[in-house]
């Protein structure tokens, strides 16, 4: 499935990547294991353009976004 990253998360992971995961918890674990710099980073996860907070099952065609908060003004 396709993962899109925004802001400073994209600086760590690249703007887009392909990962297969059964659910969002597994995806999160995979990201943390693959990118050490993501440890303690805060970002929201959107699945098919909906922000989620609980674990959600993922399908091959799902589109996932990793969205950090921006502070600039």
């Amino acid at each position: 499935m396709k993962i899109f990253a925004f802001g400073q998360i994209a600086e760590i992971t690249g703007k887009s990547l392909e990962i297969d995961a059964a659910d969002t918890d597994q995806l999160h674990q995979f990201l943390m294991a693959s990118f050490k710099e993501l440890t303690d980073r805060k970002f929201a996860i959107a699945v098919n353009k909906k922000i989620i907070s609980k674990n959600v099952a993922l399908h091959q065609t799902d589109e996932i976004a990793l969205m950090p908060p921006y502070s600039g003004g």
Partner: protein, 367 residues
């Protein structure tokens, strides 16, 4: 016959807007918190559109590096108070509206008094402590927030808390990021026109919300990328991360330490105010270190050692003095540098930094 004002003729003739919507703008009051890049652009359109009452909150003064994006200010305004200066310019643009300037930084002491007098709040600030503070105050006071934030070439816009069941900033980001986690504009830069566009979108959302137009970004977060012109809208709702930690009432809110919440001072590193910082200069066994990159202005007029923050990342400097006092432009890099030094020296040295950086120092000296 109803009174028409030629100033708003193009609103009257606009299908789906008209006299009725214009009257709603006239009757509305809007508080813009932060007269920086976002505030300067949103304020101009809100004043031009005829919002009846506008409040501007900013405790900062105009610096030369602001002029690249804070388009209400000009070179001759350097050193002047932002809120008052912005109010003067906007009053010239539209003398028919009421504009109030509050030359103060939003904090837990003044937030309720400032916000409760207005219908809509624009979050145009540039730091997380203020963003969480404004969010919580508006949730408690049941005021809608038109949110805007920028990073390099990307911006976020959303409308929070616009009705009983609408999401707020904490539904989106329940845990505040650490100050060291997110770099500021001084460090990573920002395309000057970006806050202009995002601030303009905040003005659009404010007008839509007040006039009752469709398509308000309530329960939605828009991300715009200026390089690709891609927009990305995600949905959110108040059920996500519903166990958020908004204080339960005004008394609890006033006890909150938002600086601490957002990681500014969790570590035992001493945050120095300007007066305390100035007392450190020339003290025995004390090294004052400027962690800004070479050439960043204004130059410090007191004795210091320049160790650019970029060098910290590669290899931590050896500092002999047992008191290390760091400073940078805004206080963010100096805090990060302080944390790095603390890891190296543990408790063998006393490490402090100038909170608010050279910007606060200049304001203090010119204020």
């Amino acid at each position: 016959m109803e009174k028409r004002n030629l100033r708003y003729a193009r609103h009257y003739s606009l299908k789906g807007f008209g006299l009725e919507a214009q009257q709603k703008l006239q009757n509305a009051s809007v508080l813009v918190i932060g007269a920086g890049g976002l505030g300067c652009s949103s304020l101009q359109y809100l004043a031009a559109a005829g919002i009846g009452q506008i409040g501007i909150v900013d405790g900062d003064t105009v610096a030369i590096s602001n002029l690249q994006r804070q388009i209400l200010f000009e070179t001759s305004d350097i050193g002047k108070r932002k809120a008052t200066t912005a109010a003067k310019k906007l009053q010239n643009l539209n003398p028919e509206i009421i504009i109030a300037a509050f030359d103060q930084q939003i904090n837990t002491g003044n937030a309720f008094a400032l916000i409760s007098d207005y219908d809509v709040v624009l979050d145009c600030t540039d730091n997380f402590a203020s963003r969480y503070l404004i969010n919580d105050a508006c949730v408690l006071l049941k005021k809608p927030i038109v949110f805007g934030a920028v990073f390099q070439f990307e911006g976020q816009v959303a409308v929070f808390n616009s009705s009983k069941n609408s999401a707020n900033y904490r539904n989106l980001f329940p845990i505040p990021p650490d100050a060291t986690e997110v770099q500021d504009c001084n460090e990573v830069g920002v395309l000057g026109v970006l806050p202009g566009i995002i601030g303009t979108l905040q003005a659009v959302e404010t007008i839509k919300l007040i006039a009752g137009l469709e398509g308000v970004l309530s329960n939605r977060l828009l991300t715009l990328n200026l390089l690709t012109y891609e927009t990305f809208i995600v949905e959110l709702d108040a059920e996500i991360n519903a166990q958020t930690e908004v204080p339960i009432n005004q008394a609890a809110f006033q006890l909150m330490d938002y600086e601490w919440l957002c990681g500014n001072g969790k570590s035992g590193i001493i945050n120095l105010g300007v007066a305390e910082f100035l007392q450190q200069i020339g003290q025995r066994d004390t090294e004052i270190v400027d962690v800004r990159e070479t050439g960043e202005m204004p130059k410090a007029t007191f004795k210091n050692q320049n160790i650019p923050f970029s060098e910290f990342k590669e290899n931590l400097p050896e500092i002999e003095a047992s008191h290390i006092v760091l400073f940078c432009q805004s206080g963010k890099r100096s805090l990060r540098a302080a944390k790095m030094l603390q890891q190296k020296y543990r408790s063998t040295k006393e490490i402090s930094h100038l909170s608010g950086g050279m910007t606060a120092l200049n304001e203090y000296q010119n204020g």
